[in-house]
């Protein structure tokens, strides 16, 4: 799940840049900008080496303490830069590659749209939707943040309330016992 996604034209200006809104966006813009140098370096380095042909996926460009930046260059020298959270260690190379492939496909669709002039900012809603699907969803506000422990308590309270309700119903249905004993006897017995 990315934290920031950017599409840079071959003249090195952004066609599309979007980051998670809770963070300081300027920081991501700056990171993407500095990563362009690394991209250029990688392209020229691979060109000089007598490698048969350069791959489109550039891999990890540079890591910072909180984030990792990945790059991808198409044949038309359009660069895709993705910033992911370092703490998300479950993200594997394959997943990043597939995210870039999806980006490339969507960008190609944008290019083929006759209402899009190459070189303009990308305003396609379809593209927006695709990028939203690969970004981290906005974090829940503090109030509704539920931890494992609190869930346990809430669950118990819920179960208890429902059980009481069911217990009352049960008593009603039999109708013979009536409301006897202390309240605790109306909690359902655990099936052990």
């Amino acid at each position: 799940m990315a934290v920031c996604v950017a599409v840079i034209a071959k003249e090195n200006y952004p066609l599309y840049i979007r980051s998670v809104p809770t963070e300081n966006e300027l920081k991501f813009h700056y990171m993407v900008h500095t990563s362009l140098d690394v991209v250029d370096e990688k392209i020229s380095a691979m060109g000089k080496a007598l490698v048969d042909q350069r791959e489109l996926y550039l891999g990890l460009l540079y890591p910072t303490e909180d984030y990792k930046v990945y790059g991808y260059v198409t044949n038309s020298k359009v660069k895709f830069v993705m910033v992911v959270d370092s703490s998300n260690t479950a993200l594997r190379d394959n997943e990043i590659r597939s995210m870039f492939r999806k980006l490339h496909n969507s960008y190609t669709d944008v290019m083929c749209n006759p209402f899009y002039n190459p070189g303009d900012r990308i305003q396609s809603r379809a593209f927006d939707g695709m990028v939203t699907s690969m970004m981290i969803q906005a974090r829940q506000p503090r109030g509704s943040c539920v931890s494992w422990l609190s869930l346990g308590i809430a669950e118990k309270v819920w179960v208890g309330a429902l059980a009481t309700h069911m217990g009352c119903l049960g008593l009603k249905s039999t109708g013979k016992e009536g409301l006897k004993g202390p309240l605790s006897s109306q909690w359902p017995r655990r099936r052990d």
């Binding site: 042909q53 791959e55 020298k77 083929c112």
Partner: protein, 175 residues
């Protein structure tokens, strides 16, 4: 069957392309429509129509240049891009490859097609020679557009000596 053949060429991703003849009809209509407005527009008007056609081809070429080289690895040099034009782009649009590619290694390339699909239905020989350039303008734009997406600025002109054989001359503009 024609459709199966066309589909096989773009079949890398299993997608089937529509029958090639649809594009040929559309192209013929485009040219006819631009000339129908004013059958004898004079030299200025004719240039305008030709540049409209070329502009259309350019935009299509730009999109093609983005969509076609999908899994291909990056081009190392100009000649690779031209070869890509001759093989992949021609095969995708016209279901055949370019017949010959010559270069003077100084930025000029001549692409020759002995039986250009958009001209083949018109005549075989010298008949309709004056009408032929109109039918090549779109394709010139297509080539120029594809090259521009690949990062190469160029000037493309076409010439016909005898239908249906035609030559496209690509001159790379180095600033």
């Amino acid at each position: 069957m024609r459709t199966r053949g066309a589909g096989r060429l773009l079949g890398r991703e299993g997608r089937r392309m529509a029958d090639a003849v649809l594009f040929e009809f559309l192209h013929t209509e485009m040219v006819a429509e631009l000339w129908a407005q004013d059958p004898d527009p004079g030299p200025g008007g004719q240039k305008m129509s030709l540049s409209v056609l070329e502009g259309m081809g350019f935009r299509v070429g730009q999109a093609l240049g983005e969509r076609l080289p999908r899994e291909t690895l990056a081009f190392r040099e100009e000649l690779d891009a031209l070869k890509f034009l001759c093989k992949d782009v021609w095969a995708a649009v016209f279901q055949k490859q370019m017949d010959s590619l010559r270069t003077n290694h100084q930025g000029t390339y001549v692409l020759q097609d002995h039986s250009f699909p958009l001209l083949i239905r018109m005549a075989s020989g010298l008949q309709y020679l004056e009408e032929a350039p109109k039918f090549l303008a779109f394709t010139c734009g297509l080539l120029r557009g594809t090259l521009s997406t690949l990062g190469i600025k160029s000037l493309v002109t076409a010439s016909v000596a005898a239908l249906p054989s035609c030559k496209f001359q690509v001159v790379i503009q180095r600033s």
